[in-house]
Symmetry: C2
Subunit: 144 residues, 2 copies
Amino acid sequence: MQKIVLTPIGYAHNANRPDTPSPELQASTSQIIVDERYEDGLMGIGQNEFLTIVFYFHLVDRYELRIHPRGDTSRPITGVFNTRSQFRPNPIGVTVVRLKSIEGNKLVVEGLDAVDGTPILDIKPHVLTFDEGVKADGAGKDRA
Amino acid sequence: MQKIVLTPIGYAHNANRPDTPSPELQASTSQIIVDERYEDGLMGIGQNEFLTIVFYFHLVDRYELRIHPRGDTSRPITGVFNTRSQFRPNPIGVTVVRLKSIEGNKLVVEGLDAVDGTPILDIKPHVLTFDEGVKADGAGKDRA
């Protein structure tokens, strides 16, 4: 299989630690600082209420194909692709966040369930889900 | 900035070509063949109606920070992060698809707007959006 090499476009800064509980992560506020060389790509992004953030689980050094969800042995084992676990073959996270503000290359977002220092790979407008998209006649689903 | 190296977990096979119009891409059916070494990670995935597919725009060799959406010069220029354009610094696509069937390491999905041969980086259960998640008391948003 081919190798794919990516470079972070920026990093997340917040008070989240590896042991921060999931509900706190989801309620947390982060600053995303985009590298200045990509700042022009943020033009117009302030019009979005929600953004999809693609990030890299940089602290993860292994994966498990079958896991107990959240490490809870009382929950039945399932495949890692059936979960949002960070212990996946390509440790990529995808989370929809609420955009609170933007100033230059700095975004403030709510709901990024990632720890301080997380490399950001991509930022996209949050589009309607498949279901919503069908209802809405596919609006917003086109590639720009 | 650090470099991040990923390996595809599989590839998409379909009738989509680089010049296939967007509506056809969105209505298209793809087979995703996951590398056999990751097949165990698919356990339980058949229970999902929708999946989030993370993939790599392997035919893209450049990015543009500011673009006319869909290359349509009648539409105002905007930042690439405000679009789903493939011409982004990290050419990663994220699309919610409908799972039609799964057999072993082969998934049949509807709505993957990617061309034939696209490397697949990750498969996740589609979770509720931020808004829906708030309404539904955050169910399904936890990291497993």
